[in-house]
């Protein structure tokens, strides 16, 4: 990298407003040829918005973009591609049923004789690129059959195939195993040597220090600072990111575990594609303790939770709640046995968005005599109870007759938490209960979990966030490829957990726990 090389890409004074919300506020950013420039910030700091502006998905309210020193009007991805900008999206933009080669060439297909696809040429080109940068893929494999890491390589290859000189990687490590992260880093090195300018978007500090040449920090839509890697430390960066020293801490006493309430033995569960996702897993959660299940996403957590909560029938094994076997008996049996479930995705599962809060708060227990009798809903009781819960859990932005869809994410999550805890469960499954929440809401959920533990419930916390796991749990189980790969005390170091979570080797974990993204709510 030449430090004084002119930037291949420069964004000047980019402002992007959504209605009255300012997502980007006069942001300057540039990339030079052959460097990795990290864009660092919490979720919601405006990183993705900025990159969407760059890629022609959003039109900036104000500001200019320069490519090779010339002003550029980027109004669509097609223009961005033509200018040599390639994007590796956080959620891969690949067609699952098509092959690797087809995905790579889509939109710029080699063809002969009036539009007939020349897949042979496509394959050859893919092989050539993949050899050059060490991006191993099988051109004829179907995307939905290959690993997440391979899909990411396809995304990178697709950008390179289109002649990208500027490569934007949006949270590229979020879904990778440690081994895959190492491979990615070496690919990035090779791309740098070739003169590609790389924008590396992340909220993970450790990663930044590992790959970046320069680091720009965004906070609340504004650029806080741009610093070289030399001299930067996790602590200094963290201060820039959040604007204050932040340690996520939670006051809690040591747990006093009682008798086992949830016992899973030798559980085998298949996923939607009929592959074994949970492979002979056993675990126990006692009354009055929080057990965290930590792991990289996609190691069987979904299927395990679905099996315990009755949403998915296991292939074999036992699940007992306070001695009652509920494996494969459905959601009602699980609920009746005392299982409650804070769902991972509140929009898809946890809430019926067009329902009122009263109706949503009744979902878990609507069949109990408290809320209905002889097939009739007891509407008054439903509403009274809802009002009580909304007050108790401090849900803001709506009353009993408000539609769930009009609440903010944090308050929606409070509704879910309130409903599940109100069912007075023996076992509470909290699946990523703080995903997408702001600091205040995260704290609320964590406190509540600890309080329920102290009330004698058995709590299984499924989380991808290292910091959350350490702060909340009494015991940490690491899940890897559908099995428990190790048990740790909350004091375990990041290294110890990382090794277990990846089968071997160290992974970069989040320094800031699930970072705040609620700032846009004001």
């Amino acid at each position: 990298m030449e430090p004084d090389a002119p930037p291949v890409l420069e964004l000047r004074g980019i402002t992007k407003k959504f209605g009255s919300v300012v997502a980007n506020d006069r942001v300057d950013f540039d990339v030079r040829s052959g460097e990795v420039h990290a864009l660092l910030g919490e979720n919601g700091a405006g990183k993705s918005t900025l990159m969407s502006v760059l890629y022609g998905l959003y039109k900036p309210t104000e500001g200019e973009i320069f490519v090779d020193g010339k002003p550029a009007e980027i109004d669509s991805p097609a223009t961005a591609i033509a200018l040599g900008i390639g994007m590796v999206h956080q959620h891969f933009m690949l067609v699952p049923v098509m092959t690797v080669a087809e995905n790579i060439v889509l939109g710029q297909e080699p063809s002969r004789g009036g539009g007939l696809l020349d897949l042979g040429a496509a394959r050859a080109r893919v092989r050539e690129l993949s050899d050059r940068y060490g991006l191993a893929v099988d051109p004829d494999a179907v995307i939905e059959d290959v690993s997440v890491g391979a899909q990411q390589r396809v995304e990178i290859l697709r950008a390179l195939y289109r002649g990208a000189r500027i490569l934007v990687l949006d949270e590229p490590t979020a879904v990778l195993t440690a081994q895959e992260v190492r491979e990615l880093v070496s690919v990035l090195h090779r791309l740098k040597e070739d003169g590609t300018g790389i924008v590396f978007i992340t909220h993970k500090l450790a990663e930044v220090l590992e790959v970046a040449d320069r680091i720009t920090v965004l906070r609340r839509g504004k650029r806080v600072d741009t610093v070289p890697r030399q001299g930067a430390s996790e602590r200094s960066l963290a201060r820039l990111v959040v604007g204050r020293d932040v340690v996520l801490s939670l006051e809690k006493t040591a747990g006093r575990p009682g008798e086992p309430l949830l016992a899973v033995e030798e559980l085998h569960v298949r996923d939607d594609r009929e592959l074994e996702a949970v492979a002979g897993l056993s675990l126990t959660v006692r009354a009055g303790e929080i057990v965290a299940l930590a792991g990289v996403d996609g190691n069987g957590q979904h299927e395990l939770v679905e099996a315990i909560t009755g949403l998915r029938a296991p292939e074999s094994g036992r699940i007992s709640v306070a001695g009652r076997d509920i494996a494969g008996r459905g959601v009602r049996a699980a609920t009746d046995a005392g299982v409650a479930h804070i769902a991972e995705d509140r929009h898809r599962r946890g809430l019926v968005l067009p329902f009122t809060l009263t109706e949503n708060l009744a979902l878990r227990e609507y069949r109990k005599p408290l809320l209905s009798a002889l097939g009739w809903l007891r509407l008054r009781l439903m509403r009274q109870r809802a009002g009580r819960l909304l007050r108790e859990y401090d849900v803001r932005g709506g009353d009993t007759d408000t539609f769930a869809s009009s609440l903010s994410g944090g308050n929606q999550q409070k509704v879910c938490v309130a409903r599940e805890i109100a069912s007075d469960p023996k076992v509470l499954i909290a699946h990523q209960p703080t995903r997408g929440l702001d600091v205040g809401a995260i704290e609320f959920v964590h406190r509540r979990l600890v309080a329920e533990r102290d009330a004698g419930r058995a709590i299984l916390l499924v989380s991808l966030e290292y910091e959350e796991v350490r702060a909340v749990a009494d015991r940490i189980l690491v899940i890897y490829e559908g099995k428990i790969a190790g048990e740790f005390p909350p004091e375990a170091t990041e290294e110890e957990l990382g090794i277990a979570m990846t089968g071997a080797g160290k992974t970069s974990m989040s320094f800031l726990a699930s970072s705040p993204d609620g700032e846009l709510e004001g």
Partner: protein, 400 residues
């Protein structure tokens, strides 16, 4: 399909799937041997074959291949019942009904409109837009085709007018489902009602109670040279309509387009994951518009076949649910042109059979008119779950 499945089984193992398929073949055989030309007059061999089919189905179900297994069992029972019925029927009747060459010819006649509409349906659904409005678009072609042929005096122009009318109605569906992000099933239903109203209105306004005149230019049949016109092939395909051949020719063309050209790749990408297509710079909405309009034009040609080629006149609601049968053929054919051809031939054959069965009993014959619909229902029930629609079909695409 079945051949591929069989080929995929490694040699030496007994695949339950293969057993089930064998069972299905046996079940069909159970009935067929009692029909001309074999005309076995005792049900015994059929019963044996049928029981074998049921047993094969049972084995497959036990081994986990539930759907084909159940199919084999059901068909086995049907096969036995059919065989008993036909062994009791008079040989004369059987020979009249099961004149295979005539059945094939009729099946082709009935399959043609379905084929056009189904190919249209494939294009639309592959691009991610569900086209329940196929029925209405067919109906538009049905009326405006004959109107065009009448007014402009030529079936060629008639077909052109039909395609334009169907394309215009499809454009309405496209605007609603693509730009206005309508519920595509509801919007398609509206399209169907609208077509019923428009065609009925203009038909009545233009022709009054007398209906379409009798001498309207019609799509000609193709007398195949080099074929013995009194032999089986002569009677079956020697005198088929030009549009039938056009439809059959469209099948490989569309297959090549979808799976071998860049535009086909793009169309499928848009239907599977529009956001991905968008990020590589493909005009998602424009591709969908084109697909829906072309699908409407094809469906209209199918409808025009009914009036301009087959019957030579128009009557209210003439398509009689054929658009929906075509839709079922799309599903049954797994969103592939060749599959759709097979499906429409099966449905066409059932219509042909329904036409000839009244030979046995005039009153009961009416009941057989329901056969294509029953068959469609059974076929869709049997195939669903094993076939996967384009992932984005039915979901409006909203740009970020």
């Amino acid at each position: 399909m079945s051949a591929g499945a069989i080929a995929a089984v490694p040699a030496g193992t007994v695949s339950p799937r293969r057993v089930a398929i064998t069972g299905i073949v046996l079940a069909v055989l159970a009935w067929v041997i009692t029909l001309p030309p074999a005309l076995v007059r005792t049900p015994v061999p059929s019963v044996i074959l049928g029981i074998a089919a049921v047993a094969a189905g049972g084995f497959a179900v036990a081994a986990g291949e539930r759907r084909p297994g159940v199919g084999a069992i059901a068909l086995g029972v049907v096969g036995i019942a059919g065989a008993i019925l036909s062994t009791r029927a008079g040989v004369g009747n059987l020979k009249v009904v099961f004149t295979w060459s005539a059945l094939v010819a009729a099946a082709l006649r009935y399959a043609t409109p379905l084929l056009f509409a189904a190919l249209g349906g494939i294009i639309s659904e592959r691009s991610g837009v569900i086209n329940i409005g196929l029925e209405g678009m067919m109906l538009m072609g049905c009326f405006f085709g004959i109107w065009g042929a009448d007014v402009l005096g030529s079936w060629v122009l008639g077909l052109l007018v039909a395609a334009v009318a169907g394309g215009l109605l499809a454009l309405v569906h496209a605007v609603f489902s693509i730009h206005l992000r309508a519920n595509q099933v509801v919007s398609g239903t509206g399209i169907n009602f609208l077509a019923l109203g428009i065609t009925g209105y203009f038909f009545t306004a233009h022709y009054g109670p007398n209906g379409t005149p009798s001498k309207i230019s019609q799509v000609p049949n193709v007398k195949l040279p080099l074929i013995q016109h009194d032999g089986f092939f002569g009677a079956a395909i020697g005198d088929a309509n030009l549009m039938t051949w056009l439809g059959i020719a469209l099948v490989p063309l569309l297959a090549i387009f979808l799976f071998r050209t860049r535009w086909g790749l793009r169309l499928r990408a848009v239907g599977e994951k529009p956001r991905a297509a968008d990020t590589v710079g493909l005009p998602v909405l424009r591709i969908r518009y084109l697909a829906v309009v072309v699908s409407g034009m094809l469906a209209a040609l199918g409808g025009a076949y009914l009036s301009v080629a087959f019957v030579g006149s128009f009557s209210q609601d003439m398509t009689e649910g054929r658009g929906f049968i075509a839709l079922a053929a799309v599903i049954f054919g797994r969103w592939r042109p060749l599959g759709a051809l097979v499906a429409t031939l099966v449905f066409g054959f059932s219509s042909a059979l329904a036409d000839r069965l009244p030979q046995f009993s005039q009153t009961a014959g009416t009941l057989f008119q329901a056969l294509p619909y029953v068959l469609t229902l059974v076929a869709v029930a049997g195939v669903i779950g094993r076939s996967r629609p384009p992932a984005a079909s039915g979901i409006p695409y909203v740009k970020e």
